[in-house]
């Protein structure tokens, strides 16, 4: 299977007698796969674009789907929001078959969605996009004071952590007590 979809125009000048279709004959049509997120909206993505995701690439090579099978069985990513998956798919399409430049201007800008994007990118194992996202996260606190860092990165104080831990323990204790009571009720 060839992954070179472009670049045929620059290598085409010779053989004027043959028709252009026959000159470009060796090119294999690109295969497409389908993915959907939580919103069930199906995105059609080329195999070249999906190469960026180690997870999906692994799934494709293991499953050996034909185009029809791929269409009938889109890869489900129920833990990824539809808009986040759309961002990831767009990025993969923009960077199909080429490495990411150090200063990538085609990346998602919505910082409100950065957290979900980082989780999705980590799950899908898109290394280059993850590296860029991590840089963006670090940039959020560049030159900020400790209190600003605490606020932006939502870092609780030790006292808040301890209180949350106590609360979690209390809740777990209550849940365990509820379960044993329910089990005792069932036994009767």
């Amino acid at each position: 299977m060839s992954s070179t979809e472009q670049g045929t125009s620059s290598a085409a000048p010779a053989e004027p007698t043959t028709a252009p279709e026959s000159a470009a004959a060796p090119e294999v049509p690109e295969s497409f796969y389908y993915v959907h997120g939580k919103d069930k909206v199906v995105h059609k993505v080329s195999a070249g674009a999906l190469q960026h995701s180690a997870l999906i690439h692994g799934m494709i090579s293991n499953l050996g789907y034909t185009e029809e099978q791929a269409k009938a069985n889109p890869f489900p990513f129920e833990n990824i929001d539809g808009d986040i998956l759309q961002m990831v798919v767009d990025w993969c399409n923009q960077h199909k078959g080429k490495p990411t430049p150090p200063e990538d201007t085609n990346l998602p800008k919505q910082k409100e969605k950065l957290f979900d994007l980082v989780l999705a990118v980590n799950y899908l194992e898109i290394k280059e996009l993850l590296t860029y996202c991590c840089k963006q996260v670090a940039m959020m606190v560049k030159g900020k004071s400790p209190e600003e860092i605490r606020e932006i990165w939502m870092i609780p104080t030790d006292a808040e952590d301890e209180a949350a831990e106590k609360e979690a323990k209390k809740r777990a204790g209550k849940e365990a007590a509820g379960e044993t009571a329910a089990a005792a009720g069932d036994a009767k």
């Binding site: 980590n122 996260v137 670090a138 606190v141 004071s145 932006i152 939502m154 870092i155 952590d161």
Partner: protein, 153 residues
């Protein structure tokens, strides 16, 4: 002998504007550990130190970063104490945490509750400063800082 005044960074005078601007929140401690570490590794040495001082959990994360801490030096200059750090992986850089007193007129103009960064290039050597407020208990602060560096370095 009159004390030398540090240059005032622009960032300081625009501090209130900056505070209003930054509304985006990012719960970094909820990230998977590997991702969190990759984020922190993009920070500067002094920023990692500030991060590690925020809480025990933050410190435990900062501990996982591999540093090649070469030297920690204590000193004081014009009665302002400082800690100097050098890393074997970055021989051209020195990081200085400096506790600074504030002049009365400065305190009238600005809130003294701040810390700020500044870098200087002297020949091939770059010095990165983190100025912290000397609230009269700088030695205790430095001890805490040293314990912190020893555990995360």
């Amino acid at each position: 002998m009159p004390r030398k005044r540090f240059p005032r960074p622009k960032q300081l005078t625009n501090r209130n504007k900056l505070k209003k601007k930054s509304k985006v929140r990012f719960p970094i401690l909820k990230l998977p550990r590997v991702v969190l570490l990759e984020c922190i590794e993009n920070l500067d040495v002094l920023e990692i130190i500030l991060f590690s001082l925020l809480s025990k959990r933050a410190k435990s994360m900062a501990k996982l970063i591999h540093w090649n801490l070469l030297d920690i030096t204590f000193g004081h200059d014009d009665e302002d104490p400082y800690i100097l750090l050098t890393l074997s992986s970055n021989p051209g850089h020195t990081w200085v945490i400096r506790y600074k007193d504030f002049y009365e007129e400065e305190e009238e103009e600005e809130s003294p509750e701040y810390s700020y960064f500044k870098s200087y290039l002297t020949g091939p050597q770059a010095k990165h400063y983190l100025f912290l407020k000397n609230d009269g208990n700088a030695i205790e602060g430095m001890k805490k800082m040293l314990r912190n560096h020893k555990s995360i370095g």
